[in-house]
Amino acid sequence: MHHVVLERWSRGASFVHARDARVKVLVLLAYLVALATTAPITFAAATCYAALVAAATVAARLPLAGLALRAAAVLPFAGTFALFSILAGDGGRAASLVSKSYLSAAAVLVLAGTTPLPKLVRGLESLGVPRFLTLVIQFLYRYLFVISEQAQHMRLAALARGGGQLRFTHAAGAAATLFGRSYARAEGIHGAMLARGFHGRMELLAEPRLGTADVLFLAAGLAAAMALRLAMGAVG
């Protein structure tokens, strides 16, 4: 499963993995803004943006082919609207939609593939995302695997009983059961939190400070994005 693979990638080791999450998010945002505001996106421009992502992938010791493949998940959606554009006579728009969405997805993959989600989320909190939201995301991710596995088992059990076909009512029943179990689990978690002294506010460990390497990475990343953007022309 996709998120399982990404989990594994994110716990690897490389210069990029070791950088602070905040810094990586900011560099990603700079890249995405540069890419989004480049209009029109020429073949040369797309190649340059692609080269930057590829370089980051290699530096992060992530599999280039694997990443390229996973970024292709955007293509069905992008392809549909590219088709609409071509039928409407706007071939340039079609190329833009496909190239920009693909390269953006690839860039996000580099971030997600080098930063375990909990660290990424703590980084987002440092950048201003409210704690309540980041807590919900952390709990969501914590139990994503557990509940997904439960869903898989239930699905297989239901399929086995239904002779290979999942009937609508059975699917609804499975979903309802899963919901009930999830709700009960949430109550159990609450009890576990109370048992260890939870009194209404989540206290968290401190985040490590930014290091020199982090600051340099930030500077370099922002500079690269800006340089690329300026080289591509006027504001679109």
């Binding site: 609207f81 409407a88 939609l97 953006s104 709990f139 969501l140 509940i147 309802a176 899963l178 709700y183």
Partner: protein, 302 residues
């Protein structure tokens, strides 16, 4: 309908990032102030449930299957404010981990699905869920939630210049219609299942109905969706809409009048006016959403 990066024009994604994300931020900060951090595990686990439930394939017809989107289910089970936060968490994980939806486009997707979609998934239930038409109300909640999100998304694409000719639009509307019906059916089935298995979870709708508030909310959401479509196909549509709604017109004029002088400095690009009007409209809906969220949250604590 998660919009990836590279689709929306800068005025559109920027305006929605600046209005949609802070709106959720307000909801989240309020939750922290009211010591609701104890609810974070429940919200997170429910979000994980929605993810997992999306893996359960509901057979639709002739070998095709659909899956639960979940906005209405969340709104019915948790209330609109909590549902909006959970939906945002889901969208964030989908964007970062699954690359389903862009990062710059998060504002747009949050606005479409976590704010408008959740509201549209809650209002029918809130208005009619207590009576004899409960199943129809829940069906409407599911269907509207998907329909409104999809329409808003298409409006944003159109406003960004993505060409969708009538034939393509018809195709999209058919797809949205089918998804809406399916979502309605799945939502009804799952809510009924939950009521049977764990009756205490689904809150019963309050006896009192705030008609005015609900009507305003419904009106705002549908207006935004319809207006968006009209505006994007007709460049003067925003002006026309603004004229119809005095308030929106005044706000638009406020923004565009002084800015008209500065237009020349922006390399002749007229996108500021569009962005301002769009932002004003989005802000209006956003504010109404927050007001509704607060009202609903207050009555929720029963």
């Amino acid at each position: 309908m998660h919009i990836p990066d590279g689709f929306l024009s800068t005025p559109v994604w920027l305006a929605l990032d600046v209005t949609g994300l802070p709106a959720i931020g307000l909801l989240a900060r309020r939750a922290r102030r009211e010591l609701e951090e104890a609810r974070a595990p429940l919200l997170g686990v429910t979000g994980a449930f929605v993810f997992a439930a999306q893996m359960i394939n509901f057979p639709v017809a002739a070998g095709t299957s659909a899956h639960l989107v979940g906005g209405a289910l969340l709104a019915i089970a948790l209330g609109p404010a909590a549902a909006a936060v959970v939906m945002t968490a889901i969208l964030a994980v989908q964007a970062f981990v699954f690359q389903d939806g862009g990062i710059l486009a998060l504002g747009a997707n949050v606005f479409n699905m976590a704010i408008a979609g959740v509201l549209a998934g809650y209002l029918p239930y809130r208005l009619w869920g207590a009576g004899g038409r409960r199943r129809a109300a829940i069906f409407a909640a599911g269907a509207l939630s998907v329909m409104v999100s999809a329409l808003l998304a298409v409006s944003e694409l159109l406003a960004s210049g993505v060409p969708v000719r009538p034939a393509a639009m018809a195709f999209l509307l058919v797809v949205f219609g089918v998804s809406a019906v399916v979502e309605g059916a799945i939502t009804v089935a799952v809510v009924r299942g939950i009521e049977r298995l764990s009756p205490q979870i689904i809150r019963q709708t309050a006896a009192e109905r705030s008609w005015v508030l609900a009507a305003c909310g419904a009106g705002a959401v549908l207006l935004a969706a319809a207006g968006g479509l009209v505006a994007s196909t007709n460049p003067d549509g925003l002006q026309w809409l603004g004229g119809q709604l005095d308030i929106l017109g005044r706000i638009t004029n406020l923004f565009t009048a002084p800015l008209a002088e500065y237009r020349a400095r922006w390399l002749g690009s007229p996108w500021i006016a569009k962005a301002a009007a769009g932002a004003a409209g989005a802000l209006l809906v956003g504010l109404i959403s927050i007001a509704l969220g607060r009202a609903a949250a207050r009555t929720r604590s029963a």
